[in-house]
């Protein structure tokens, strides 16, 4: 059997690689997406005071720079037995929506769009954000970077640092927003709504109006029918900071809903010896039955596409209009086409900007009542949020002083581990036939996991663009026959 290894090398831990096995006829026998990252946070958080956890655990990822902070901050509310003040909660949401905007913008402009704007088969040297700026024009490129920078400024103003914020307190937020700052944020929010509109416009012009690209977006090679999970508000709409987790099956039927510790009734994680990343599955839908798709599977995915499938709408007008267009275009729910992740991401960018604008106009946001410190330690807390990449669960137990004794984290990319494996296998089977492997394959396989925006590939979210890929094709005796790379 031939083994092909694709190294979408990201951070030096290697983070992820793909191994493809060909049968004797040269067709794909099986393919595996392996994760090679492990750092041990769940252990070394033990012994720390719970309120110190958010600023510490944030460093799990510097791209998703605010998500671990936010989930653990919500868990700390539970540990200390408090509900945040209304202003505290609004400040958290304001900062979190700013984070959504800057994060989704980086992902779309540095990772998602270049494939389409520059072209999936363009020279890899151009298929990056620099090439993208070349196509759309330096002025627009500069403007996008500048506007995204405004979201980073809001993040820093509220969180203390532009990355890895520190302002979490159980029951609220450590910093008050002054009237002067509020006015500034309100002005920036207007610009960010414009960024959201522009982003949807780019998607519309480049992808939706291009027949060849729409074939990819609605093509079977990028269709992965699994179940979905995401947060919804009391009206069933998509929400990010707080809500009820809703799980639907691949036909759109509701499997159930949960909050907080209820996640343990729905999710179990399996350890497989060939990946550092565990494989979660919906245990409500039956016992572990491997990494499968289609009818009867209990694999599920999370993230922008899952949210569009689980939620029945958006809670702001412009995003709602875009949501409707999204579902009209695909015309069957749930949408299983993974390239739609990028579109969903653009809709969410606009939605987060609209929410930011609403929060910045709220008079309560400048109240000095930012935290409720009537603590009564319960010793346990679960924080669940929708991170830009999907549902993030942090669960802590503490002693009676609030010192962490146990920690459990399930991150978005972990939920998606099974579906990513399925997507990669499907694309490999589609694009590799009779032992023919070509340069174009590289990017098409890449395009199978890029929509999920692997958090473990954070380092690829840089201005240099795409994930460098390498494919090595070995003869069955282990000698190297061919080597392809996209950089």
């Amino acid at each position: 059997m031939k083994k092909i290894e694709i190294n979408p090398i990201t951070r030096l831990e290697g983070h992820g690689k793909i191994a493809i096995f060909l049968d004797d006829a040269g067709n794909v026998d099986d393919a595996f997406f392996q994760t090679v990252e492990f750092r041990g946070y769940e252990k070394f958080l033990q012994g720390m005071p719970m309120e110190e956890v958010p600023r510490t655990v944030s460093t799990i990822c510097g791209v998703c720079r605010g998500v671990h902070f936010t989930a653990s901050m919500k868990a700390s509310d539970g540990v200390f037995g408090v509900t945040p003040t209304s202003t505290g909660r609004k400040l958290r949401e304001m900062y979190f929506n700013a984070h959504y905007i800057e994060d989704h913008a980086v992902i779309l402009y540095a990772l998602g769009f270049p494939d389409f704007v520059v072209g999936p088969e363009a020279s890899p040297a151009e298929r990056n954000i620099i090439g993208l700026i070349g196509k759309v024009g330096a002025e627009i490129g500069r403007e996008v970077l500048r506007k995204r920078g405004l979201a980073v400024k809001i993040f820093e103003m509220l969180g203390g640092k532009p990355n890895h914020p520190v302002a979490a307190l159980p029951g609220g937020w450590s910093k008050r927003l002054t009237e002067e700052e509020r006015v500034q944020v309100a002005g920036w929010a207007d610009e960010l709504v414009e960024l959201g509109k522009l982003t949807l416009q780019v998607f519309d012009n480049v992808v939706l109006k291009n027949e060849a690209y729409m074939k990819l977006v609605t093509g079977d090679m990028y269709k992965v029918p699994v179940n979905y999970m995401g947060s919804v508000d009391e009206k069933g709409r998509v929400t990010y900071y707080d809500g009820t987790q809703k799980v639907i099956d691949l036909n759109g039927r509701e499997v159930g809903t949960f909050t907080g510790k209820g996640y343990l009734d729905f999710i179990s994680e399996r350890v497989l010896p060939w990946s550092y990343l565990k494989f979660p599955y919906q245990k409500k839908m039956g016992p572990w039955s491997g990494i499968t798709e289609g009818e009867g599977t209990n694999m599920y995915c999370v993230g922008p596409l899952a949210r569009m499938n689980v939620g029945n709408g958006m809670d702001t007008p412009l995003a709602q209009a875009a949501y409707e267009q999204f579902h009209e275009t695909f015309n069957s729910r749930p949408v299983h086409y993974i390239q739609a992740y990028h579109w969903a991401r653009a809709i969410e960018l606009l939605s987060a900007a609209e929410k930011l604008k609403i929060l910045a106009a709220d008079p309560e946001i400048t109240s000095p009542d930012t935290v409720n410190q009537n603590y009564a330690i319960t010793g346990e807390g679960v924080g669940i949020i929708e991170a830009p990449r999907g549902t993030l669960i942090h669960h802590y137990q503490t002693d009676d002083k609030g010192i962490v004794t146990n920690a459990n984290l399930i991150v978005a990319t972990t939920h998606n581990n099974g579906p990513i494996n399925l997507a990669v296998k499907k694309a490999a089977k589609h694009f590799i036939k009779d032992g023919q492997v070509n340069e174009g394959l590289l990017n098409y396989v890449e395009m199978a996991f890029r929509p999920y925006d692997l958090c473990l590939a954070c380092a690829t979210h840089t201005v240099t663009g795409g994930v460098p890929l390498k494919i090595e094709i070995f003869e069955s005796d282990g000698t190297l026959r061919e080597e392809l790379s996209n950089f």
Binding site: Q34, G40, V152, N163, V271
Partner: protein, 323 residues
């Protein structure tokens, strides 16, 4: 126009936050790219990229940043290669210069880390006690390999000579611009130094009692940030909240204090300090007014090492197994 500076950025075992500090330069990044030619940037660290880098002439890169600590053999290999190819190597950010937050893993054995992640976590279901394996034959036919995990987290200077250190988790993006400028203009301190303003966080902190010509008084009780709201004015340390500002480089502009939170030391030690955590203990100790106050410190932070060595355990003299 002079030739562009050949620049490389390598992410070792970090979170990519340090690299985002460059992206966060926003539109200024485009200006910077007029003076800098990026010949290598972190994500490209596949074997083949090692080869590309290996193929470059020694000392052909003008300026290289490394962020992240060292945990895997690949990290070690790449750091050594990059050192050979670069004229100036900068350990960029807390992980690279001190070990960073992931360095706290050194307090535990690998077995403890694995057991927690793959057996003891609430949602893990592992009936057969499986751990990830460096090599595994799935179904007897698929040969799948994973990199092995080294024993401890190490810093860059544990492996190679480092020309300059930059603190921060991550370094503030404005400081990135300053550091690049210092290097571009050749306005550099002696090799082996930190690129820093040389000021402590206290020096740039609006809360510093010295600003109001007040004396520092002994502290009687130690507080966590849940023991009362850290106020908007006044020195947090004086209020009893442990703040590491006195011994930490203040290139961040006292970011945390601006949002009423104490400093935890991500900027790295001010000049002259060999072991950050040891100095932190003596600095805190010296302001505690009584034995009772010292007791309250240990009661509030039972695993003191995870406070004083939060960013710097691998760079400490103790290295590991401090409990």
């Amino acid at each position: 126009m002079a030739d562009k500076i050949k620049f490389a950025f390598l992410l070792a075992g970090g979170c990519a936050g340090c690299e985002m500090a460059l992206v966060d330069l926003s539109e200024n990044l485009l200006d910077a790219l007029e003076h800098i030619e990026v010949v290598f940037w972190a994500p490209t660290v596949a074997d083949v990229k090692y080869k590309d880098l290996e193929a470059m002439a020694d000392k052909s890169i003008d300026l290289a940043f490394v962020d992240g600590m060292v945990r895997l053999s690949e990290h070690e290999h790449m750091v050594r290669v990059l050192r050979a190819k670069s004229k100036i190597l900068v350990a960029f950010g807390a992980c690279a210069s001190l070990g960073g937050i992931p360095g706290m893993a050194n307090i535990h054995t690998n077995d403890e880390l694995f057991k927690q992640a793959y057996k003891d976590t609430f949602s893990t279901e592992n009936p057969d006690g499986v751990y990830p394996q460096p090599q595994y034959f799935l179904d007897g036919k698929y040969d799948l390999t994973l990199p092995a995990f080294q024993d401890k987290v190490r810093t860059i200077q544990d492996l190679v000579e480092v020309d300059y250190y930059v603190g921060g988790c991550p370094p503030h993006h404005s400081f990135v611009a300053k550091a690049v400028e210092a290097i571009v203009t050749g306005n550099l301190p002696p090799k082996g130094s930190w690129l820093t303003s040389g000021k402590a966080v206290c020096d740039v902190c609006k809360r510093n009692p010295a600003n109001e010509e007040l004396e520092r008084l002994p502290v009687e009780t130690v507080k966590r940030t849940v023991d009362g709201m850290p106020e908007e004015k006044g020195c947090l340390l004086q209020h009893g909240f442990v703040c590491l500002g006195p011994i930490t480089q203040g290139d961040c502009g006292a970011s945390c204090l601006n949002v009423n939170m104490p400093c935890r030391g991500c900027g790295g030690p001010i000049p002259g300090i060999k072991d950050y955590g040891a100095r932190a203990v003596s600095a805190i100790g010296s302001i505690l007014g009584s034995e009772a106050a010292t007791d309250s410190l240990l009661e509030k932070f039972p695993v003191l090492s995870k406070l004083v060595y939060r960013y710097s355990l691998p760079a400490s003299r103790l290295k590991s197994n401090v409990r």
